[in-house]
Symmetry: C2
Amino acid sequence: MTLALRQLATTAADFEAEFQRVLHWSAETDHAIEQRVAEILADVQARGDAAVLEYTARFDGLQADSVAALEITRDELKAAFDCLPAAQRDAIEFAARRVRSYHERQLQACGLSWQYRDEDGTLLGQKVTPLDRVGIYVPGGKAAYPSSVLMNAIPAQVAGVGEIVMVVPTPKGERNALVLAAAYVAGVHRAFTLGGAQAVGALAYGTATVPAVHKITGPGNAYVASAKRRVFGTVGIDMIAGPSEILVLADGSTPPDWVAMDLFSQAEHDELAQSILLCPDAGYIAQVRAEIERLLPGMPRQDVIRASLEGRGALIHTRSMEEACDISNRIAPEHLEVSSRDPHRWEPLLKHAGAIFLGAFTSESLGDYCAGPNHVLPTSGTARFSSPLGVYDFQKRSSLIEVSEAGAQVLGKVAAELAYGEGLQAHAQAAEFRLKR
Amino acid sequence: MTLALRQLATTAADFEAEFQRVLHWSAETDHAIEQRVAEILADVQARGDAAVLEYTARFDGLQADSVAALEITRDELKAAFDCLPAAQRDAIEFAARRVRSYHERQLQACGLSWQYRDEDGTLLGQKVTPLDRVGIYVPGGKAAYPSSVLMNAIPAQVAGVGEIVMVVPTPKGERNALVLAAAYVAGVHRAFTLGGAQAVGALAYGTATVPAVHKITGPGNAYVASAKRRVFGTVGIDMIAGPSEILVLADGSTPPDWVAMDLFSQAEHDELAQSILLCPDAGYIAQVRAEIERLLPGMPRQDVIRASLEGRGALIHTRSMEEACDISNRIAPEHLEVSSRDPHRWEPLLKHAGAIFLGAFTSESLGDYCAGPNHVLPTSGTARFSSPLGVYDFQKRSSLIEVSEAGAQVLGKVAAELAYGEGLQAHAQAAEFRLKR
């Protein structure tokens, strides 16, 4: 069965229209879901544990006498870890170590308090402190990824968050041992087998059993996304994730089967995932296409890969690498592989991407698991304005200001002038009271 | 007329209940407003300029033939600045200089790209880049504050944002010269006399005339807040602001009239604004109360101040400064004055606050206008998880990963192990293809 994988060329007359079709992605909010989520949240806020238990029984087929019975103890997390085959235990610990080490560098690079004194002796700066308590939503079922537990919990741990509370739905009570083991390794403090909007509500408002958190991170289905959007303001949230994407920018120097497999690795996530190749070399595009066709039948998830490639994938022939960089910036992909002999030549031209993978050896999958940087990345073009999940998502800043008596004489006159201009006389007088009379 | 200003003591039996009443603040979302905003946004998305023009005529009483006619040119902004009295011009420029200087320090402290190589030669880091284009919403009418223009536009400018687009409603066409002048000084690139949900929609989706931006910041009324929440995801947004708050933590060493005026300076904003004094010295509380009663009749905005103090204010007698710090952490105020002889003794105990003003000379109003730090701060307890507006709000980060051939041999085995564990075979094979065979 031939693969109906779209092939475009920037020189073609209809390129712009075809390109728009490839990019089109509508995250339409479903009004019925919104309505249902609003009801669930209101109910959880009003009735707490009782409501959480009812929804868990109804949606996850999981009966319990109390929410306390749905808590997974640290001992259970540890037991899950201890029971894994040694190779898996080692891999999780190795990955956790690398992820921790990277996020510790991040903390040093951009997460520390700073202050200075100006010439008047006035102290200015920011105090950076960790959040007290955060909630991590981990999807259950087919997308239950232990790596996501590491990627959410470790930055929180490195930031110094006091308590990390994980929720993970376990439909019909089925627990994923790798997820629990990862929670153990990543330092999750408390865990509950809860999911859906009811879990988000329990974390946002707190119940008798589930402690209220100050921020909720982690991916989820449309109900979870809608619930996160709705509790935003009561708590902080991370981004709302869309389908995963990879863009490979290739100069033709990487073995074409490597690139084919990299495209698959995004496509296998989900039929809505997007895999795009940009390359100025038509011959190389043909080689990658041939490798795709050769390798596809051997992939266990070939149906998902095929649907994703045919539905949202594209091989795009560009005039040049420079043009490929421009197009990449228009897409602002989640994952951007610069599969080039000379990746540092192109990197400065790339403005918008969640993560940039430089050189042929940097497959996106290494970054997904264990290179160190976070794999929670902005999707659907939101890399134009948002960032990978990081230590900074689990910190907050307080401005520090200490105006000296001398400073108050200078600043007070300016503040009063501006305050009177805004009709705020108490602001003005508060400044004037500090002037020497 | 006596002032019915609540006075509590932490030693009182009913303290906890009374304290909860003081804190109670419900940012209930009005369903009718949500519905109306959804319609306006959909209409602006569908009909662009035509819809924007209609809503501007209807809601702001401002007729125009085209949205282009609602644009304020840079020349007009400059003219507004040039026509101001010299004292106001100087004050705006002085404030802008200080705000810029502080945010430049912030950029250096936490807004720069960083990278390192690990022992395998693998490069890891983050590239920090400015947003391409942002929108700044500036309220019109009674809360049209030129200082807010500086506080939103200058961090964007320091971050290196390519284009800063300001929208400001001008009901019946009345423009605020100080707002336009501040926009000139702060480096706003384009400005439109638009407001409400229609302005947010125009910025988020773009119209033929208004360019689509990637993030929208700035305060607004309930319609604007609802619209920002709804376009979140299409664009980035800053926080949703609630009523302003001040908490003064006093040890009794500051002249009591200073503290009284500081409490007024928050109360005069809005009847829902909150002013709270925490102090272990009952005699000093009585002095502040006496100053409040003495000074209130002289305040031009005394009706607003009285309503705010009576509705949401409180003087709280604590057992100690330590207890006052604990209570402050429970409130997580927007503005926190440590009006103490020894502010650095208490500062380390203060975990949650938008901005901390240290010492008697640091009136909150100095910070509002010209100390340098941003005056856009988290309200309603959101300082537990969010931060002052800053340069970081106008930047985004891209992870950088360059795995060396040696690194790929180590990382590849771990990634493959974890990927097989998650049932993602293409991820595993993409890693394995990089292993030496």
